[in-house]
């Protein structure tokens, strides 16, 4: 799980152009939106694309997105449970 979280941090930094952040700056349990990483709605769409592109996971019900993208930890949990 730690390896997946580390990989996700790198992918998020690259995909969302968070060049001023390093992996070690990101707390896996910190909120991705709002006061945490401060991501916005476009970033949320980019995370959906990232899940599909890098892990082959398509979120079927958009209502689930809020819980999945709460933090990097919740994203990793979702990937682990859904990756084929």
């Amino acid at each position: 799980m730690d390896a997946l979280i580390d990989k996700l941090k790198g992918e998020i930094i690259e995909q969302l152009n968070l060049e001023d952040l390093k992996k070690e700056d990101i707390d896996a349990n910190a909120p991705l939106f709002g006061e945490g990483l401060g991501l916005d709605s476009i970033d949320a769409l980019e995370l959906i694309v990232l899940l599909e592109k890098n892990y082959g996971i398509k979120i079927q019900d958009p209502k689930d997105a809020k819980a999945i993208f709460t933090s990097i930890q919740t994203m990793a949990d979702y990937i682990k449970a859904n990756q084929k």
């Binding site: 995909q15 969302l16 152009n17 968070l18 060049e19 001023d20 401060g38 476009i42 970033d43 769409l45 980019e46 694309v49 599909e52 592109k53």
Partner: protein
């Protein structure tokens, strides 16, 4: 009131050089890539804007140039935000980002990037400048073959002389492959830090000397 308007400050970025009101304020070796130069200038001036790294190159260039312009001429403190217009033009629209977006919609590797997509219009840079500075006046973007001093001076003078704005941030911002240059200036009803009449002839001279 006179119909004469004045260029009161200007800033340009070209060939790895930042010029503010005609003096070179920051430069690097011309060997450095345009995007690396912009990141280096951003750090040098400590512009501190969380969205900077998320922007496309065209917006990065516009944001740095406008930030430096507004640091030297604090029009956002001297005018109501509704009184400041932004009118900018370029020759390549958002082509740099359009090409990048196209690579994400290849039919064999179809993952359209929302982040890239939002920058596939050149006028987004007007919004970035407006959001950064809270500016709420008229904003317009034009695409021309080359910088058209006659049109720009006429259009901006009309805005100010018809009370559609009291001040304008205007100029040229181009970013595509090796065609990278910005030249932004402020126009006001009265002389400011600089005192150049806003006419086609003066503007042509100023642009050519950048």
């Amino acid at each position: 009131m006179s119909d004469q308007n004045y260029i009161t400050s200007f800033c340009s970025i070209k060939s790895s050089k930042v010029c503010i009101n005609s003096h070179i304020d920051y430069s690097e070796s011309s060997q450095v890539s345009s995007i690396d130069f912009l990141k280096s200038a951003y750090k040098h001036y400590q512009l501190a804007y969380p969205k900077f790294y998320k922007m496309d190159s065209l917006c990065k260039l516009a944001l740095i140039t406008s930030d430096l312009l507004l640091k030297t001429n604090k029009i956002t403190e001297n005018y109501n935000k509704e009184e400041i217009a932004i009118v900018i033009a370029n020759s390549v629209s958002s082509l740099e980002t359009d090409v990048e977006y196209q690579t994400t919609i290849d039919k064999n590797n179809y993952f359209p990037s929302p982040t890239v997509f939002v920058y596939t219009l050149p006028n987004i840079l007007l919004g970035e400048i407006a959001i950064r500075n809270g500016i709420k006046g008229e904003n317009t973007f034009f695409v021309f073959d080359k910088f058209d001093a006659g049109f720009m001076s006429s259009y901006i003078n009309s805005l100010l002389n018809n009370s559609r704005a009291k001040c304008c941030i205007t100029g040229w911002v181009d970013f595509y492959e090796n065609k990278v240059e910005s030249f932004l200036y402020t126009v006001e009803k009265q002389p400011g830090i600089m005192n150049i009449e806003h006419t086609s002839e003066q503007l042509t001279k100023l642009y050519t000397n950048q």
